[in-house]
Symmetry: C2
Subunit: 428 residues, 2 copies
């Protein structure tokens, strides 16, 4: 760490508290961003292979202009009439199945999931929630109960039950295929039965339809359809957390749940929605919205303000006009082919997964035993940072390299990533 970074880190500990999350052994002091590039204080540039928040590229001029124009004109709450939120929600819901026709706008994906849980309560009259055992859906007190990583003071409330994370590389039910789905559904059924025996009752399954934090396993085609059928048969609802796969990241579809062949009851949105402007939303059916609006008073001062809507609308415009879904599909296919070629030369690569502009490689120290290599993954991510490439790790064993760049990522950017990976994997 150079002197400037050391001094900033010390100041940060003092002002923000120690243990405030920070990336890399040698933290990066970023001062400027443009498209897929970030620049540090010394002018060094970094290829951003990590950030999904700047969805259409860092500081996209059209989003910046939309924010500037609207912030100069009007920025207020939604207890006055304003076309901005109506035009945006109309455009947004037009990208979903026609049953998902209404929305509440909030400021973060966490707020969206916090609302979604209450929609499950109001529409089913029950409060039990099921999530996977290595998921993350956000940071409010209610939503963070869904994570198993660090139980809250007082313990996880017993209205939350966890099912094992689907893992296509080390499948629950032995071989990949039908037993895999059956085993997951068996676990889900057990959790539903347990909740129905409790005072809470079964209300909802909340999942990321891409199982992004879980390490984006390759699932059988009917996996989510069969899962959704079980949830609906039990009188529960499906909350699809689209914070990561949504807005076309997977290339083939606008939404992760379309890719896995289900229509959720509630969809939550966040991070990439307005390219970094704090915007989240919950999209649902008019019946569920009605039950929520009858069961709870809810108002969000900043949610759906004209500036947020203008920024979010610009993102949809750019996605469409620049055909960024097609780009994600094509570049993602190319990157996976290149990663497969890389795996021929580097035994550390155990599995390659993903789709569109959300892919990665699971690292193992032994391909036969599939021994997770979290230390090597961490080392690789730090070496990549030194070479000017920003990535991260995720997954059950924290040994999956996560590549999730802005949607404007190209083949040339992929070549730079692959070339650097090739060199660094030789050094490990």
């Amino acid at each position: 760490m150079n002197r400037s970074s050391a001094s900033l880190t010390a100041r940060r500990d003092r002002l923000l508290g120690e243990n405030t999350p920070l990336f890399y052994d040698d933290p990066v002091h970023i001062v400027r961003g443009e498209d897929v590039w970030l620049y540090d204080a010394e002018g060094k540039r970094y290829l951003d292979c990590y950030n999904n928040v700047p969805h259409v590229g860092h500081c996209h001029p059209r989003v910046v202009d939309a924010i500037h124009q609207q912030a100069s004109t009007l920025n207020t709450h939604t207890r006055y009439l304003h076309e901005g939120i109506l035009d945006y929600v109309e455009r947004l819901t037009s990208t979903f199945d026609s049953s998902l026709s209404t929305a509440i706008m909030a400021c973060t994906g966490s707020e969206a999931n916090d609302i979604a849980l209450r929609m499950a309560h109001s529409t089913t009259g029950r409060t039990g929630i099921i999530a996977t055992d290595s998921t993350y859906h956000g940071n409010t007190a209610a939503v963070s109960q869904l994570s198993t990583k660090m139980p809250p003071i007082g313990g996880v409330e017993n209205h939350v039950r966890h099912v094992p994370t689907p893992d296509s590389y080390r499948p629950l039910g032995g071989q990949f295929g039908e037993p895999f789905t059956a085993r997951f559904i068996d676990e889900l059924q057990q959790a539903i039965t347990a909740l129905n025996k409790s005072k809470h009752g079964f209300s909802a399954l909340i999942i990321c339809p891409y199982f992004a934090n879980e390490g984006f396993p390759d699932l059988p085609d009917t996996f989510m359809k069969e899962t959704a059928d079980v949830v609906h048969s039990a009188g529960g609802i499906i909350i699809a957390d689209e914070v990561q796969p949504g807005f076309g990241r997977l290339g083939t579809h606008m939404w992760g749940h379309e890719r896995v062949g289900i229509i959720p009851d509630v969809v939550t949105l966040g991070k990439p929605m307005a390219n970094g402007h704090p915007v989240g939303a919950v999209v649902t059916t008019s019946d569920i919205m009605k039950s929520f609006r009858s069961g709870y008073r809810y108002f969000n001062t900043f949610g759906g303000n004209p500036v947020s809507c203008a920024a979010a609308m610009a993102v949809l415009d750019i996605l469409e006009e620049d055909q960024l879904l097609d780009n994600a599909a094509a570049v993602g296919r190319y990157a996976k082919t290149e990663l497969i070629r890389l795996a021929d030369r580097h035994d550390l690569i155990g599995d390659i997964r993903g789709q569109g502009l959300f892919f990665g490689a699971e690292l193992v120290t032994d391909r036969t035993a599939k021994t997770p290599a979290p230390q090597e993954a961490d080392q690789l991510v730090n070496l990549l940072r030194q070479e000017g490439i920003l990535t991260g790790t995720l997954g059950v064993h924290r040994c999956t390299l996560k590549i999730r760049p802005p949607m404007t990522f190209t083949r040339a950017h992929t070549d730079l990533l692959i070339h650097t990976l090739d060199e660094l994997l030789s050094r490990l």
Copy 2:
């Protein structure tokens, strides 16, 4: 309601759901804002006596420029090093007692209060919370448990206890003065004892130091000091929700808790912090921050991003350079004097309270019996809207006219408000 408003309202019901909060019997279709003025689609202008979010005035060019500049340069999360958040938190905490030296930045006041509750848990090891019975601290599932208005599905969790709202106009303990404080403290002691007998234990009292939603009662000088002593003696902490009184609104002090003579353990901030850009924060001691960072993993993707910090910093600059605290104090004094003169002519005015640019009048149908006049208050607010003045109501009986304009509100604006009030009160 004209045809355009009716059509927007119908579209709104369809896209956002029925019962989505909307002001006034005849909703206002606002399209532009500037300083203390809002303009509707037909060009009619409204004097904004309600909105505290545009703290330094609607669309203040300096805040807009700060947002534009920074959004063009870099907008990313805080897991990289960046001076923006450090400079802002240093400047912000310098306005507090030196014990309040660290901060977490979030996107809304609700998120801030949601964090504050967990700080109470981590620092005391207990989870019981006390609030007043007519408060509002935000909209997350955890924070909305503090409101008594509409109990959540499954009921209010019994870790929350309510104490009666202090009401100087209809005091709990008979006459205003010492028995008033003693009676409140007695109720507080009872709630603490009850929590300590439960499995939760007493953790914190969360209050707005101005009791804004409660109707901003005139409290005895030592009221909050005596209250804070009881809380601290019982091993609990004070969470001061400064979303409404903070950032100088009361004129005499930057923070509401300074005005009432206490140093809280945790302070939460929201609405006016960045003039409408979605920003909130929690300010606390380094010990409490340490316990929180050890007890919980917390990361907020949008919280403290460079654009949010630039907008929030511009607000502090403007407050200071334009001496807006002095303005709030002077205009607030003038307005109260004028309201008192108005009370001579209108029997509907039962009580006049408030300070700085947060004041109002409680309306009653009978001054001796102090009979609340919520219908008349609602009617007055709707008449004011027709006359181009935006206000609202609040308080235990929903009969207090709430005047809480941007900090640039002047004597001339006050004259217009008072003159219009005078005319309308004659009509009621």
